[in-house]
C-alpha cells in the first residue's frame, strides 16, 4: 500500500516547438483487454439471443417475461433519448410524454388494419383522407419520430432559451398541450378522442422490439461519441467556455433536443405496438416521471445506465407484485399486504436509492467489462487486505 509513485513533474514545456514538426501520429489508445471485452460482449449477445429464442419458442409459458422485456426495450429507448438531452446536454426537459404521444398516435393511426378501422372509429367516424391510408409499421414509426422532431424544432426555438427549471416547466406544459390536443373533440376523427385507438398491430416476436431498441440506442451512442456528442457535453459542462470554443449554444441545444425527440417519437411508436391500444391517458405526466426515474436510477449521463434502469424499473414493478397479495404468517393475516402496497415499497426503494446512491447505478460512465472486473478485483483486494 505504501508504494507511492513519485512522478517527477517537470514544468518545462517542450522546448523549441514548431507545429507539425513533431512527427507525432495520433495513436488510438488501445484498451489492453480489448480482445477479452470483445469476446465477452459477443458471448453476452449470443447468450441473450439464445435466451430470447427460448422465450420466443415457449411464448405462451413466458408471456409475462416477454412483456417485461418488451416494455423495458421501449422504455430504454425513451430513457436513452431523455438522457441525451438531460444527461449529456444538460437541458432539463420534461416533454417526454408529449413527444412519445406524437410518435404513438402517428404510428397507431397509420397502421391500424383497414378492415378494423370501421370498428375502431365506430363512435366518431373516421376522417375521409385517413380511411384508406395505411403504411408499413416501420415507415409509420419513422414518420412518428420525424413529426415529433418537427414539433421539437418548433418549440425549441423559444423554449431552449430558458434555463433549467424554467425549461422543465415549459416542456411539461408542452407535453400537456399535446395530450389535450390529441383528446380534443376536433381531433375525434383522427385520434378517436377519449375512446383511444385499438387494434394496433403488435410485435409478432420478441426480437422486433429488441432489435429496434438496439438500433436506436446504438445510433445515439455513435452520436455521443462523435464531435457533436462532445459539443453536447461541452455545453452541459460550461456554456461560457463552450461558446468561447466556437460552439453555437442555441444550435447545439436545438440539435440535441430535436434528435432526442425523434427517438422519443420512435419509442412512442414502439409503445403503441407493444400495448396495441392507446389513449391519451397513457401519456400523462406520470409517464415522463417514470422515464425520468429510469434515467436517474441508471445514472444521468450514462446510456447503458438507462438500459439497466429500464430493466430494473419495469422488472421491479412486477417482481414486487407479491406484496399486493394477502400474506398470512402463522395464521395471522398481515394487514399491510394488500393491493397497492407494492407501489409504496417501490417508491420507498426509489427514495432510498436517490438519497444514498445519488449518482445512480452507473454514474456518468458507460458499462465496460474492464470496469466490472476491476470492481471485483478491488473487492477481492479489500477482503484480502482486511484478513492480513
Amino acid at each position: 500500500m505504501s508504494k507511492m509513485k513519485e512522478k517527477a513533474v517537470s514544468s518545462k514545456m517542450n522546448g523549441g516547438y514548431v507545429p507539425g514538426s513533431s512527427g507525432h501520429v495520433y495513436q488510438k489508445r488501445r484498451d489492453p483487454h480489448h480482445v477479452r471485452s470483445a469476446v465477452l460482449t459477443i458471448a453476452a449477445c449470443i447468450l441473450l439471443a439464445a435466451l430470447m429464442a427460448f422465450y420466443q419458442k415457449n411464448a405462451s409459458d413466458h408471456s409475462y417475461a416477454i412483456s417485461i422485456i418488451e416494455r423495458s426495450a421501449v422504455y430504454a429507448v425513451a430513457a436513452a433519448a431523455m438522457n441525451l438531452v438531460t444527461g449529456f446536454t444538460g437541458l432539463f426537459s420534461l416533454g417526454a410524454a408529449g413527444f412519445m404521444a406524437i410518435g404513438a398516435y402517428t404510428t397507431a393511426v397509420l397502421t391500424i388494419p383497414l378492415s378494423a378501422r370501421a370498428s375502431v372509429y365506430y363512435m366518431n367516424g373516421i376522417a375521409p383522407w385517413l380511411e384508406n391510408l395505411q403504411v408499413p409499421v416501420l415507415v409509420a414509426m419513422i414518420l412518428g419520430g420525424l413529426i415529433s422532431a418537427g414539433f421539437a424544432a418548433l418549440i425549441g426555438i423559444p423554449v431552449l432559451r430558458l434555463k433549467s427549471d424554467y425549461l422543465a416547466i415549459a416542456t411539461l406544459g408542452f407535453a400537456e398541450i399535446i395530450r389535450t390536443v390529441l383528446a380534443a373533440p376536433m381531433m375525434d376523427q383522427i385520434t378517436n378522442g377519449s375512446y383511444g385507438l385499438n387494434n394496433i398491430p403488435g410485435f409478432t416476436n420478441i426480437f422486433q422490439p429488441l432489435i429496434l431498441a438496439a438500433v436506436c440506442i446504438a445510433i445515439m451512442m455513435l452520436l455521443l461519441h462523435s464531435s457533436y456528442g462532445r459539443a453536447f457535453k461541452a455545453v452541459r459542462d460550461d456554456e461560457v467556455a463552450a461558446e468561447a470554443m466556437g460552439i453555437n449554444l442555441f444550435r447545439t441545444k436545438e440539435l440535441s433536443f430535436v434528435i432526442s425527440s425523434f427517438f422519443m417519437g420512435i419509442s412512442g411508436g414502439m409503445l403503441a405496438l407493444f400495448m396495441r391500444s392507446i389513449d391519451t391517458k397513457t401519456f400523462q405526466i406520470t409517464m415522463t416521471y417514470n422515464i425520468l426515474l429510469i434515467v436517474v436510477l441508471g445514472g444521468i449521463g450514462s446510456i447503458t445506465g438507462s438500459i439497466i434502469g429500464a430493466l430494473l424499473i419495469n422488472g421491479g414493478q412486477e417482481w414486487l407484485r407479491f406484496l399486493d397479495e394477502p400474506l398470512t404468517v402463522g395464521g395471522v393475516s398481515i394487514p399491510l399486504f394488500r393491493p397497492g402496497f407494492r407501489m409504496v415499497i417501490y417508491s420507498i426503494v426509489l427514495m432510498v436509492v436517490v438519497l444514498f446512491w445519488r449518482r445512480g447505478i452507473m454514474g456518468d460512465r458507460e458499462f465496460s467489462w474492464n470496469h466490472l472486473f476491476s470492481v471485483f478485483r478491488r473487492k477481492k483486494k479489500a477482503s484480502q487486505g482486511g484478513a492480513q
Binding site: K7, V9, S10, S11, K12, M13, N14, G16, Y17, V18, P19, G20, S22, H24, V25, Y26, R29, I219, L222, L223, S226, S227, Y228, R230, A231, K233, A234, R236, D237, D238, V240, A241, A242, E243, A244, M245, G246, I247, N248, L249, L255, I259, G301, D364
Partner: protein
C-alpha cells in the same frame, strides 16, 4: 523590420455601462500583428469586462471593435440607455452589430478565462479536441456514422500535438479537473490554440503560479506567439512577467485608460504608480 504594422485588433471608444456603473469608459486600444500587448490595472479596473466585450460576452453600450480591419462589434446607447448614458462619444456610432462569442471565436479570436473554465467531466485530450468541433465540416449524420474519419483523425492529431506542446502528454487521459492549477492554465491555452486563432486573449495566465512557473510561462507565451504567428493580448498582475514579455502596455483604472506605452515608459509613469500604490489622498 520595414514591414508596415498591420492592425489586428482595434478597439474604439468602447464604453460598457451596467445600470449606473460604467465598468469600461471610452476605451480605445490597438493590437498589431505579432505584438504582445498587456492590459494592466488594479482590481476592478474593468480589464476582464474589456475582454468580455471584445469576445462578445457583453454587448458594449457604445463603441466599436474592429478585427483585422473589419468591424465585428458596434453599438451606441439605445432605448432607455440613451437617457441614462454616462459615457462619451454617444453620437459617433449609428450601427448595432452584435456577435455571439462563438462567432467571434470563429473569426479567429481565442481566449482563456481568469477563473479557469475547463470542461469538468472531460479528459485533458477531450478538452482540447472540443475546440476543433467548430471547424468540422461534417454534418451530424456523417459524424454519427463515422464518415468523417479523416477529419476526425486530423483533429485528434492536432489536439494531441497541442497537448504535447504544453507538456501534458502523460496526462492526456486524466480528467481535466484533476490536474494541478498550473497545468490547468496551460491546458486552457492549448484549448484556445486548438481553435486556430490569430489573436489570443489571455486573462491572468500567471494567476496562482509560483515564480518558476511564471518564468516558464513567459518563455511559453513567446514561443507560441512565434510558432502560431499570433498576436497576444494579455491581462496580468505579475509585473515581472508583463515587463519582460510585452511590447506595449495599456493601464486601466476605474474603467478609464490612464496610460499607455512601452514597459519602460509605464514603469516610470507617475500616474500608474499612483494608481497602483495609491496617492494617499482620496479623490
Amino acid at each position: 523590420m520595414a514591414e508596415p504594422r498591420e492592425n489586428v485588433l482595434h478597439v474604439e471608444n468602447v464604453t460598457m455601462q451596467f445600470g449606473g456603473v460604467v465598468a469600461v469608459n471610452n476605451l480605445s486600444l490597438d493590437v498589431d500583428k505579432g505584438e504582445i500587448v498587456a492590459l494592466i490595472g488594479p482590481n476592478g479596473a474593468g480589464k476582464t469586462t474589456a475582454f468580455n466585450v471584445i469576445t462578445g460576452v457583453y454587448q458594449p453600450t457604445n463603441g466599436r471593435v474592429q478585427f483585422q480591419g473589419d468591424t465585428i462589434i458596434e453599438n451606441h446607447p439605445r432605448g432607455k440607455m440613451r437617457k441614462n448614458y454616462l459615457g462619451e462619444n454617444a453620437e459617433l456610432y449609428s450601427n448595432s452589430i452584435v456577435r455571439t462569442p462563438d462567432r467571434i471565436t470563429k473569426l479567429g479570436i481565442a481566449r482563456t478565462f481568469q477563473n479557469i473554465r475547463l470542461f469538468k467531466a472531460m479528459t485533458v485530450f477531450e478538452n482540447v479536441l472540443i475546440a476543433t468541433h467548430m471547424r468540422s465540416e461534417a454534418n451530424v449524420f456523417s459524424a454519427t456514422f463515422g464518415l468523417n474519419r479523416r477529419e476526425e483523425m486530423a483533429n485528434r492529431e492536432l489536439a494531441m500535438e497541442l497537448i504535447e506542446m504544453v507538456g501534458l502528454k502523460d496526462e492526456a487521459d486524466v480528467l481535466a479537473t484533476s490536474l494541478p492549477y498550473g497545468k490547468q492554465r496551460r491546458l486552457e491555452i492549448a484549448r484556445a490554440l486548438a481553435t486556430k486563432p490569430s489573436l489570443l486573449l489571455l486573462d491572468e495566465p500567471a494567476a496562482g503560479m509560483n515564480p518558476q512557473e511564471t518564468d516558464d510561462l513567459a518563455d511559453f507565451i513567446c514561443r507560441i506567439k512565434a510558432a502560431f504567428h499570433l498576436s497576444i493580448f494579455v491581462i496580468e498582475h505579475h509585473m515581472d512577467l508583463i515587463m519582460s514579455i510585452s511590447d506595449r502596455i495599456y493601464v486601466l483604472n476605474f474603467g478609464k485608460l490612464i496610460a499607455q506605452g512601452t514597459p519602460e515608459e509605464i514603469q516610470n509613469n507617475q500616474i500608474v504608480i499612483d494608481a497602483y500604490l495609491g496617492t494617499g489622498k482620496t479623490n
